[in-house]
């Protein structure tokens, strides 16, 4: 974002921005890009984005920065954010919970292609139930422990969407189906189960004859 807005006199225009997608500064930096990098790169402008509705963080390591760290980055649009998308990220479960809980008005949470590190501290309690819609994309077997822990939180999702899986197993699908089962009204499973074979994974398809 550096260089996009050069003049301080024009920074007020950022209040009209509704959607922000963050990508690494340079390709192939992978998850070496961190929250600290984000703050250093964009902190000045992040604080001017008062009306962001949608935030997408992609290919980022979300390190344990606590609520104070998230406040430093996202306080300008904490109340206005309704859509949070986290893709290709690495974090601990407690940090994920802290981040999601930081935004009180999220109606759509989309997560995908992530890996979870061991926790550095106790899992924080949610300040309120998580509601609205949750979308899962490109999840794999390694995500199962994450979903099992996630399902133990106070979830009141109305809509659960499984957009895609990298490798779906019955166990993984079962763990996904535990997310807010008692409150979900709209269940969208856009991916089937694949059976594990000795020499790889094969989608179980009905084959017409």
């Amino acid at each position: 974002m550096n260089g996009v807005v050069l003049s301080g006199s024009k920074i007020h225009l950022l209040r009209y921005v509704r959607s922000l997608e963050q990508y690494p500064r340079t390709p192939n930096t992978g998850n070496n890009y961190t929250m600290q990098n984000l703050l250093e790169d964009s902190g000045e402008y992040l604080s001017a984005l008062h009306n962001i509705r949608s935030l997408e963080l992609t290919t980022i390591g979300i390190e344990h920065v606590g609520e104070g760290g998230f406040r430093a980055c996202f306080s300008a649009f904490r109340e206005t954010l309704t859509n949070l998308s986290l893709m290709a990220f690495v974090t601990s479960f407690s940090t994920f919970v802290t981040l999601v809980d930081y935004f009180p008005n999220i109606t759509t949470l989309r997560v995908g292609f992530f890996s979870v590190e061991s926790d550095e501290g106790p899992v924080p309690l949610l300040s309120r139930p998580l509601r609205g819609k949750i979308c899962l994309r490109d999840i794999n077997y390694g995500s199962m422990e994450f979903f099992n822990r996630f399902a133990k939180l106070d979830l009141e999702y109305e809509e659960l969407v499984l957009e895609s899986c990298l490798r779906t197993t019955t166990e993984l699908l079962e763990s996904v189906l535990r997310l807010g089962a008692s409150t979900v009204k709209y269940l969208r499973l856009m991916e089937g189960v694949k059976r594990e074979y000795p020499h790889g994974t094969q989608t179980l398809l009905y084959t017409p004859t």
């Binding site: 008692s182 499973l189 059976r195 398809l205 009905y206």
Partner: protein, 131 residues
């Protein structure tokens, strides 16, 4: 694998064919269910779809069984099954769906809608259910 705990479920969306749809349908227990959306993938053309009768016949039975089971539990809504096709070849709007009788048993119990997934247009809406 089961979705019997989804007691408030109103809409279920699935992609077929895969190995899970029968299991999921047989475990639906919500008396709030209004709609099932079924995405058909890998449909090359309507001529090709005739080969899928081996799929449609049991699917009809599964859906009829679902309606009967839910009604026994107090389900009182007209259940709609929306079939979403995306044909690689051909134009769905030119197909006479009154001749291609999908889910004949279920049509006596609920509503069948066919939607062209390419553009979202509804190309068939049966309303012969007796709810």
């Amino acid at each position: 694998m089961s979705i019997r705990h989804f007691r408030q479920l109103r809409e279920l969306e699935l992609v077929v064919p895969n190995s899970t749809y029968k299991t999921l349908l047989s475990s639906v227990a919500s008396t709030e269910l209004r709609k099932i959306v079924i995405h058909m993938r890998r449909v090359r053309s309507w001529n090709f779809s005739l080969k899928w009768m081996k799929f449609w016949a049991p699917a009809d039975g599964h859906l009829c069984g679902l309606v009967d089971r839910l009604r026994a539990k107090g389900h009182c809504h007209a259940l709609e099954v929306e079939l979403r096709f995306s044909c690689i070849e051909g134009d769905l709007s030119k197909v006479d769906f009154t001749e291609l009788l999908f889910l004949p048993g279920f049509r006596e119990k609920g509503v069948v809608t066919i939607v062209d997934a390419k553009n979202g247009n509804r190309v068939l809406h049966s309303s012969t259910h007796n709810s």
